[in-house]
Amino acid sequence: MTTNIYSSPLAERYASRAMLELWSPVTRHGLWRRLWLALAEGERELGVAIPDEAVRQMRANLDKIDFDAAAAYEKRFRHDVMAHVHAFGDVAPAAKPFIHLGATSAYVTDNADLILMRRGLDLLRSRVLDVLRSLTTFAEKWRDQPTLGYTHLQPAQLTTVGKRATLWMQDLVLDIEDIDYRRRTLPFRGVKGTTGTQASFLELFQGDHEKVRRLDQLVTEKMSFPAPLPVTGQTYTRKLDAFVLSVVAGIAASAAKFSGDIRMLQSFGEMEEPFEDEQVGSSAMAYKRNPMRAERIASLARFVNSLEPNANQTHAAQYFERTLDDSANRRLVIPEMFLATDAILVLMANITSGLEVHPAVIERRVAAELPFMATEQLIVRAVRAGGDRQVAHETIRKHSLAAARALKDGADSNDLLERLSKDRSFGVKLKDLEGTIDPKRFVGRAPEQVDDFLRDVITPLFAGESARSERAEELRV
């Protein structure tokens, strides 16, 4: 850890090793070299006289990057791409005359950004799946545990603990669908040259338009992208960044909603995020267990969501074929949104795999509210015992207000049923009234909705998952 200068908390504290490596100079500049190799190979396949040895040397040095040498060149040239062209040329001398032939900086910088964002989406996707796996187990286990459902943050009716988890899960499934669409259709910037007209490549191929088109296509295929953007300025349209980052921000928002629920449930005492044996909740209040992981999710998600509009603003601010005012901004915004969302999902996976549920607290809280929620059922019970519906309603209303008042004045429990059983005008015994308000009768289809959701949405999702790697090996079928 660096202690004498500022360093990013995302790197020092929050993001995973895998996501940090993805956005590292080693990965980025390794991609630049791969892009230079793909360009040289493509040009060679289309007849440009690039010797075998040049390509061989490039291939042999894709990851042997001398960053000190590159830094020295950059100091001289004040240009990072040219610095790396020269550093690459030093270790692949036979290729030096051909590296970057016909290309402009955006060929490596923009295409590498697209590759990095696509890999970033893949990594986030695998983390979302981890969370969904934990939540699947959780939803199954608690599918029919009645709990208070809230609207307006007021107890409304009963739902189940598992059903609530499916709400979190569904948000993540929608995020996955969004990732998949964006991942599948994300285009490549391709081989377009300065201002995007491909003039330098038309020169290279002596006016052969078809070869220029093919080079764009060939390099795109080599990098396993579905298609190059049909047209670009010097850079790819920054709209693509906004599209991708909107997906990333969507994940953060889903996680933030989840974290809010967890924080409140922990406040109610119904549920708690995992707590390590030696974890300290508060430096002063030693008894405390704070939902600090969920709070951190909220904290990071707010950061991510505050950056989302930035991407569209960068797109909006571009003039003509390119401006450079996107550069420093993208350098921060793109990696940081991925790193922070990665950190969020690591936290969410941790919380969801170790959520503690306290059924006793949940049941006590249900018992305190349920008699009030059971008005309809209690009326029906009274009428079945020979009562009058209008009279029963009035009786319940009167005793409900009194029982609620008593609770607010310090009563231990909700005694509405006892009050009713003692009221001769209601005419139903306590035991029968208690039978009427079995919590499981108030959860509607919540347990079955959990079953349906897991069967119809989650199982196919995971089935598709194992088929995915298989599909990648399949050619056409």
Binding site: E41, L46, R59, R184, E221, P226, A227, T459, E474, R476
Partner: protein
């Protein structure tokens, strides 16, 4: 002559990973199969000798066998004949040898018609985890690579980018209408069944395959649109070919054509020498030769002849 990319004096119509299509005129296309090969979604740097010619000539062989059973797009797969028809190509005779097919132009249905005769690949995964295929329930207790009788028709949309997406037959109906859905399904099953039966006598199992169909104006002059089989037909690239002599259900089967390539790449991955991204490893000559030999062997087994690059028989 090996071909990595084709460059012909014709207007390009569509470029694929493996095949390039050119416009000849308003009624005809030229389809050229290159020798490029991809595996694990990555295009290899090397080409496989004879692969393009084998793919084209296998399609041509099948279409001749299927004459009368289904209308198809092939006008000629004989390079000399094609050059007589399209004299602009005469300087390219050698590079086109065997790999070019002159075809009728059609309006292609946006559906991949997949027929599965054996339980494999993504179909096996779906069955194992959900007991279904293309969303329909299958009998219990099937094993990987088990034969499906009757074969199952599972359409997919043709995605320009990335992988095709499996769809239900209902969805297919809503896309292209009931009559075309029924006809494409019937033709797909018929052609697959005919192909499966012929291949079986040659020691090849065609586990599953993909067809494409188009509508062409009938040459009968009445302006009747009829459905014709287009694209490649029952080739190792459009189908899963297994050697029948080693067939054994209960696990995955080796691929007739690409197994040497896949084995090599898997070993490179396991050894940590390849991360699955560009650039793929250089393919040793033995792997290239073994893969090429596989393609030639399939051609020989199916047709009973060695490949004649002229495609004249």
């Amino acid at each position: 002559m090996l071909m990595q990319v084709s460059a012909l004096p014709l207007t390009p119509f569509r470029r694929g990973k493996v095949r390039d299509v050119y416009e000849v005129d308003a009624d005809r296309l030229l389809i050229v199969a290159t020798d490029r090969v991809s595996a694990f979604d990555v295009v290899m740097g090397e080409t496989i000798p004879n692969k393009g010619a084998v793919l084209t000539q296998i399609t041509a062989w099948w279409l001749r066998r299927l004459e009368g059973k289904v209308d198809h797009h092939m006008l000629s797969a004989n390079t000399s004949e094609i050059i007589r028809e399209v004299p602009r190509l005469r300087d390219h005779e050698q590079e086109l040898q065997g790999r070019a097919m002159l075809s009728r132009r059609t309006t292609v249905f946006p559906i991949e018609c997949v027929v599965r005769g054996y339980l494999s690949g993504s179909a096996w995964k779906e069955y194992r985890e959900r007991g279904t295929l293309a969303g329909e329930a299958l009998p219990k207790g099937l094993r990987e690579s088990d034969r499906l009788a009757p074969p199952i028709f599972s359409p997919a949309t043709k995605a320009d980018e990335g992988h095709d997406e499996n769809i239900t037959i209902d969805r297919m109906r809503s896309l292209i209408g009931e009559p075309a859905t029924t006809e494409l399904q019937k033709l797909s099953r018929d052609v697959y069944e005919a192909g499966r039966a012929i291949a079986a006598t040659r020691g090849i199992i065609i586990a599953d395959t993909k067809f494409e169909f188009g509508r062409a104006r009938s040459t009968g002059g009445e302006g009747v649109e009829k459905v014709i089989l287009v694209d490649e037909v029952l080739t190792p690239d459009s189908s899963r070919f297994w050697p029948a002599d080693s067939y054994e259900p209960g696990h995955g089967q080796p691929s007739f054509d690409k197994q040497p390539l896949r084995d090599y790449l898997e070993a490179e991955k396991r050894a940590g020498r390849w991360d699955g991204n560009y650039p793929p490893p250089r393919l040793p000559k033995e792997v290239i030769d073994a893969t090429s030999e596989r393609y030639l062997d399939i051609y020989r087994r199916l047709t009973g002849h060695s490949l004649d690059p002229n495609g004249s028989h």
